[in-house]
C-alpha cells in the first residue's frame, strides 16, 4: 500500500498542532491575565476577574473530569471549601502564611480525595452523580453549625497569598497559578492518558477491552478534579480574605457547573473563559446580578441548544468553517478530532476492500511481527488457549455448561449456534468481561480465569463487539491508537509530563495501513459507513498485535459484496494469529474457518472441519432448520 504524501503531510502538521495547543492556551491565559491583573488588580473590575480566576482553577479540573472523561460528580464545591477553610484555619488560627497553607492543604487534599475516591469510584454513571450530590449537602449542613469554622457567618483571614503583597502582586500570583493549571490539564487531555480517559468516558466496556484500567483511572480523575478544586478554594481564601459557608452549598456547585457548561464542558480553555465570563458579567452589572437566575437559565438553555459543547464548541465550529484546512487545537479539546473529509464514499469502499498484506517490501515493525508469526511453523500446532470445564449460570439460568476448548496459536475457529446458545457469553468468558461460574481459562500456559479484561488485553487477547463500539468524536487513527497505548501502568501525572500519544498514533497508522485503511486515518469515525467502521474495529483489534483475536459477528449488517471482502481480510489475519470467530453467516464461517464449533443451549454439540460441518445432519437440522432443500452452500 502506497502512502499518499498528502496524508503524511496532514499527519505531520496535525501532530505539531497538537503539541502547540497547550502552549498556546497557556500563553493566552498568561498574557491576558497579566494584562488585567497587572493593570487593574486593585480596581473593582480587576477584583472581579481575580475572583473569577479562582473559580477557573476549579472549572479547568471539571472540564477534564466531568466534560472530557464524563465522570459526573457534584463534589467540587466541597473540596473548594476544604481548600478555603483549610487556608483560613491555618492562617487565622495558627498564624501560618497563606501561601504555605495553600501548598500544604492542596497536597493534603490529594490524600483526602484518595480516601473518598476509593469509596466513590466504586460507583459510576448516575450512581456516582447521586452519591457525590450528597457531599455539598453534608458539608454545608456541617459547616453552618461548626463554631470552629465560623458557623453560618464564616471565617476571616489575616494575610494574603503574597505575604503583605498588594492586590496586583496577588493578582499576578493567581494568574500564574491558573496558567500552570491550564498548561497541565491541556497537556493531559492531549496525551495518551487523555485518550484513555476519553475512551473511558464514552464506554467503560470498550476501554476495558483495550486494556484501560478503568477503576484506577476513575480514582485518579477524582483526585485530580478534587485537588484542583481545593487549590481553587485555597486561592479564593488567599485573595478574598473571607470564607463564607455558602461556598460549599449545593448552589455553589451548580454555579460551577453552569460556568463549565456554558464555557464548554470538554474544553479546558472554554471552562476557564466560562468562569471568567459569567463572574465578570454578573459582577459588573447590577441589573444582571438581580435577574441572574432568569438570565442564567435562559443562557444555558440557548447555548446548549445551539451546541452541547458550549461556547468553546460554537467557536471551534465557526473556526473550522472559516478555515477548514487548519487544525484547531487552541480552544477546544475536540481539536484532535474531525478534519474535513478527504475521500468520497466510493473511494472509501474501495480502500477498505483492498488488503495490503501482500506487500512485504515495506518494513514496519507491525509487518515484521506478523511476517515472523506467519513463518513460525510450529504455531499451527502449539496450544495457545485452553478452556476446561467452563460453566456460566445467571441465577439458576444455565448459559454455558462444561465447555472444553483448545485452540492453537494460529488459524480461524468458527463458533456458531442458534440465538441464545451462549456464543457471546463464551466470548465474554474468554475475553474477561464475563466471570465464569466454574472452570478455568489458560492462555499460553498461564491461568487467566480470574484476570479482568484489561489485564488479558495486556497478555494478547483482543476483541471486537457485536454492535460496533467505536469512540465517537475521535478520528479513525485515535480509535486504533487506543489499542497501542501501552500506558496502562502509567499514572495520570505522567501524561502531563510526557505524552506517548504520537508513538501510539504511529503504531496505529501501521495497523491501519496493514488493513488498507491508512487514508481514512483522519476521518471522524461517525462519518464512516458501517463496513468501514467494522474494518476500523478490526484494525483496532489487530493493532495490539494480539495472539488471540475474538470477533463477535463481524459480518452482521454487511452486504454480500462487503462480506466477500471481509473473507479476504479474515483469511489473512488467520495466517498470523488465532481467531475465535462468532458468526451467524454460516457460509462465511465455512469458507474461512479451519475448524467449526457449534454451541447449542450452552453445550458444545459439534466440532469439525468445514467439510464435516457442511455434511453434518446435526448442523443442518440445528442451524438451517428441517427444510431439506436449503443446505449450506459452497463458496461464492
Amino acid at each position: 500500500m502506497t502512502t499518499i504524501p498528502a496524508a503524511a503531510a496532514t499527519s505531520g502538521r496535525r501532530r505539531s498542532g497538537a503539541d502547540r495547543g497547550p502552549l498556546l492556551s497557556t500563553a493566552f491565559v498568561l498574557i491576558a491575565g497579566l494584562i488585567i491583573a497587572g493593570g487593574s488588580a486593585d480596581s473593582y473590575f480587576g477584583g472581579v476577574v481575580i475572583l473569577a480566576l479562582t473559580y477557573a482553577i476549579v472549572t479547568a479540573g471539571m472540564a477534564v473530569q466531568i466534560g472530557f472523561s464524563q465522570q459526573v460528580v457534584f463534589s467540587q464545591s466541597v473540596f473548594m471549601g476544604l481548600g478555603a477553610y483549610g487556608v483560613a484555619v491555618l492562617n487565622a488560627n495558627l498564624g501560618w502564611p497563606s501561601l504555605l497553607a495553600l501548598v500544604v492543604i492542596t497536597i493534603a487534599s490529594g490524600g483526602v480525595a484518595w480516601v473518598i475516591g476509593k469509596a466513590v469510584s466504586r460507583a459510576s454513571g448516575l450512581a456516582l452523580a447521586v452519591a457525590t450530590l450528597m457531599f455539598p449537602l453534608i458539608a454545608f449542613g456541617y459547616v453552618s453549625y461548626a463554631n470552629w469554622l465560623g458557623g453560618s457567618i464564616g471565617l476571616s483571614l489575616t494575610g494574603t497569598l503574597w505575604p503583605g503583597g498588594s492586590a496586583t502582586l496577588n493578582g499576578i500570583l493567581t494568574v500564574v497559578i491558573v496558567a500552570v493549571v491550564v498548561f497541565a490539564t491541556t497537556r493531559l487531555v492531549a496525551s495518551d492518558i487523555g485518550l484513555e480517559m476519553y475512551t473511558l468516558g464514552v464506554s467503560e466496556n470498550t476501554a476495558q477491552a483495550m486494556g484501560v484500567r478503568t477503576s484506577r483511572r476513575r480514582l485518579e480523575l477524582f483526585i485530580l478534579g478534587s485537588v484542583l478544586a481545593t487549590l481553587g478554594g485555597a486561592v479564593y481564601a488567599g485573595t478574598q480574605l473571607f470564607v463564607p459557608p455558602t461556598l460549599v452549598q449545593a448552589t455553589a456547585e451548580l454555579s460551577l457547573l453552569i460556568m463549565l457548561f456554558v464555557g464548554g464542558r470538554r474544553s479546558v480553555l472554554g471552562a476557564v473563559l466560562g468562569a471568567v465570563g459569567i463572574e465578570y458579567v454578573t459582577g459588573i452589572s447590577n441589573w444582571i446580578s438581580v435577574h441572574i437566575l432568569l438570565i442564567e437559565g435562559a443562557l444555558i438553555t440557548v447555548v446548549l441548544l445551539i451546541e452541547p459543547d458550549g461556547i468553546a464548541g460554537i467557536v471551534s465550529r465557526l473556526w473550522r468553517r472559516a478555515a477548514p484546512r487548519l487544525p484547531f487545537t487552541g480552544l477546544t479539546t475536540e481539536a484532535v478530532l474531525v478534519p474535513p473529509p478527504v475521500l468520497g464514499q466510493d473511494e472509501e469502499a474501495g480502500i477498505s476492500g483492498e488488503l495490503a498484506l501482500a506487500e512485504e517490501t515495506q518494513t514496519s515493525a507491525f509487518r515484521q511481527h506478523f511476517a515472523a508469526r506467519r513463518a513460525d511453523e510450529a504455531a499451527a500446532t502449539t496450544t495457545l488457549l485452553e478452556v476446561r470445564g467452563m460453566a456460566k449460570e445467571y441465577g439458576g439460568l444455565i448459559v454455558l455448561r462444561d465447555i472444553d476448548l483448545t485452540l492453537p496459536e494460529r488459524g480461524i475457529f468458527g463458533l456458531c449456534g442458534p440465538n441464545g446458545a451462549g456464543k457471546s457469553t463464551l466470548l465474554g468468558v474468554v475475553g474477561g468481561s464475563v466471570r465464569p461460574s466454574a472452570g478455568t481459562v489458560t492462555l499460553a500456559g498461564e491461568d487467566i480465569t480470574r484476570l479482568p479484561a484489561a489485564d488479558r488485553f495486556g497478555r494478547g487477547v483482543s476483541r471486537t463487539f457485536q454492535a460496533v463500539h467505536l469512540i465517537r468524536g475521535r478520528t479513525v487513527l485515535d480509535n486504533v491508537a487506543v489499542a497501542c497505548l501501552r500506558s496502562q501502568r502509567s499514572s495520570l501525572l505522567r501524561g502531563i509530563v510526557i505524552s506517548r500519544l504520537a508513538r501510539a498514533r504511529a503504531d496505529a497508522m501501521e495497523a491501519l495501513e496493514y488493513l488498507g485503511l491508512g487514508e481514512l486515518a483522519y476521518r471522524e469515525v461517525g462519518s464512516l459507513t458501517l463496513e468501514t467502521q467494522r474494518m476500523v474495529e478490526l484494525a483496532r483489534a489487530m493493532a495490539s498485535r494480539p495472539s488471540l483475536l475474538l470477533l463477535d459477528e463481524p459480518a452482521s449488517g454487511l452486504s454480500e459484496i462487503q462480506r466477500e471482502r471481509l473473507r479476504g481480510v479474515l483469511r489473512a489475519i488467520g495466517e498470523v494469529t488465532c481467531v475465535l470467530l462468532v458468526e451467524h453467516d454460516l457460509d462465511l464461517i465455512a469458507a474461512v474457518a479451519e475448524r467449526i464449533l457449534v454451541l447449542e443451549s450452552g453445550a458444545l454439540v459439534f466440532t469439525g472441519t468445514a467439510e464435516e460441518f457442511r455434511s453434518s445432519e446435526l448442523v443442518n437440522s440445528l442451524l438451517i432448520g428441517a427444510t431439506p432443500t436449503t443446505t449450506l452452500g459452497g463458496e461464492h
Binding site: A127, I138, A298
Partner: protein, 294 residues
Amino acid sequence: MKLGNLIISGIVTGSIYAAFAACVALWYRVSNILNLAVGDFAMLGALGVDNLVRVHHWKLAPAIAAMLAAVSVGAYLYDRTVLRLAQDGRTRQEGIVVTFFFTFALSFFIEGIAELFYGTDVHAAPAVWSGPSLSLGGGLHVDRAGVLVVAFAAIVGIASALVLRGTLQGKAIEACGENFFGARIAGIDNRKYRRLLFILSAALACVFGILESPITGYTYNSGAALSLTGFIAAAYAGFQKPGKAVVAGLGIGILEALLGGYVSANYADTILYALLAAAVLIRPSAMGLDIVPE
C-alpha cells in the same frame, strides 16, 4: 407519644419527598431526563395561588384552576420549544447534557420569573381544608394539610405503579425509556408520551405545592430543595419505578424525623445525607443506575 408524633411528621415529610420522587421517576421512565424543575412547578402553584387570592382577591377554586392551567401551558410550551429542539431534530442530544442540564436551566429560569413576580417573601396558598390539627387520640396530632399531602402522595404513587404495571399505555411508557428508537419502530409515539407526562408531572407538582404550602411556606427558591429530595428518593428506585420511589421517599422522611428527634436537631439533615450517600456507595448496583444512558 414522642415517637408516634415523630413518625407522623416523618410520614408527612416523607410524602412530600415521595410525591416529587414519583414525578421524577415517572418522567425519567419515558424520557431518560431527570426533571430537576419539578419542585419549581410546586412553588409556582403555591405562590401563584397565594398571589391570586391575596393580592387579586380571587376565590380559591378559580385561582387553583388558573394556576394549574398556567403551569400546564408552560410545560407544554417548554416541551414544544426546548425539548423539541434538543431531542427531535436531526441530531438527537443525549447524555449528561440532556439528562441534567436542560431541566436544571429551566429550574433557574422559573425561579427567576417567580422572584420577579412574587418577590422574595415567604408565602403559602390558603389551606384547602382549613381547621385545627386533627387529634388521633393518645396525644397524637396531624395537620389537615398533612393528611391531604399523605393521601395525595399515596394516590399518585399507587396510580402510577398500577398504570405502569397493568395497562398497555404503561408498557408503552416503559418502552420509551428502555429504547428510544425501538419504541418508535414499534409504533409508540414517545414524543407524545414525553410531552404528556411532562405536563402531567408539572400539574401534579403544582397541586402538591398548593396542598403542602400551608405546612412549610414557600419562597421563590423553595423549589430546588424539593426537586433535590425528590431526585434523591427517586434515585433509590433507580429513577425507574414511581411506586418504589414513593416508598423510598417515605422512608427518607421518617428517617429524617427520627434523626431530628433523637440524635441531633442541628445535624439531622447532615447525618441523613451521609447515610444516604453511604447507601449508594455500599451497593451501587442495587439501585439499578449503574449506567448513564448513552
